[in-house]
């Protein structure tokens, strides 16, 4: 089954990665390679917009978990948004990510980002 990955820089250092289609054992390297090239730019934040992702297996989850570990080591963040119910179910089973990194929709994500930005300004 096929996978396309869309990349978008939403703001300096904040990148949106949108895998579209099915993320399985045959094509997870496509997502891995897209993220690897992004990591070379030392992003502050990677937002995975999964609204067009219909299917995920452990290989795909592995890419996301690995990315999160690398970003965490570099004081960056990985956030997930727009998970379809069947995708959310897989993440829940594995308990792959803390709840505060999964957002139901873009509005919820935007509110989080606003709060983080205000926090940075306050601390600055």
């Amino acid at each position: 089954m096929s996978l396309t990955v869309k990349l978008d820089e939403r703001a300096p250092g904040i990148h949106v990665v949108s895998p579209m289609g099915s993320l399985d054992i045959m094509n997870y390297t496509t997502l891995q390679e897209a993220i690897d090239s992004l990591l070379q730019e030392s992003p502050k934040m990677i937002i995975l917009d999964l609204k067009d992702l219909d299917y995920i297996t452990s290989s795909g989850v592995g890419v996301i978990i690995k990315t999160r570990k690398i970003m965490k080591n570099n004081n960056g963040e990985v956030l997930l948004v727009n998970l379809q119910p069947q995708i959310e179910k897989v993440f829940e089973i594995i308990r792959a990510l803390p709840d505060q990194q999964i957002f139901k929709n873009i509005e919820e994500l935007d509110r989080y980002l606003d709060r983080m930005q205000k926090k940075v300004v306050k601390e600055g």
Binding site: I25, S59, G62, I93, I94
Partner: protein
């Protein structure tokens, strides 16, 4: 399908990860013909992909082509899958459980896959019979089509 009726589908694939797509399509077809919900079809597709990928990756020690057979059987509200291969004695359910604290490697992903399967299926049983690995998976389907 009438109550008490039984429907089966047999799929044969080679021990090559590229064959999993063929398996996924067969599951989708079987699900559609038998009016299974999209959630059940997804669970079955994911289960078979996780189990069969482990068999392909870890179950054979030679470079020959092998066949893996997958039988799906639907009787009433019980869906049974039987996966058979002639590889070395290997229980795909025993790929080490994922420990997310450790540095990541392929085994961890395989273990995570099996953890998913254990949550999605109601019964799981492995046997070794006459040089064949036989894995039986069962899922009880409450509502056949709730879409």
């Amino acid at each position: 399908m009438m109550a008490g009726e039984e429907v089966s589908k047999n799929i044969l694939i080679n021990n090559n990860l590229s064959e999993i797509e063929k398996l996924s399509k067969a599951v989708a077809e079987f699900g559609k013909i038998n009016n299974l919900s999209s959630e059940v079809i997804y669970d079955v597709r994911l289960t078979l992909e996780e189990v069969v990928s482990n068999i392909i990756k870890y179950g054979f020690e030679d470079n020959y082509e092998h066949q893996i057979s997958i039988e799906m059987n639907l009787q009433g509200e019980t869906l049974t899958m039987k996966i058979k291969d002639d590889g070395k004695p290997f229980n795909p359910l025993e790929v080490k459980n994922a420990n997310l604290e450790k540095p990541f490697d392929e085994r961890e992903i395989g273990g995570m896959g099996i953890h998913i399967v254990q949550q999605l299926m109601d019964e799981l049983r492995y046997n070794r019979e006459k040089d064949k690995n036989i894995l039986l998976l069962r899922k009880h389907i409450a509502n056949r089509s709730s879409d």
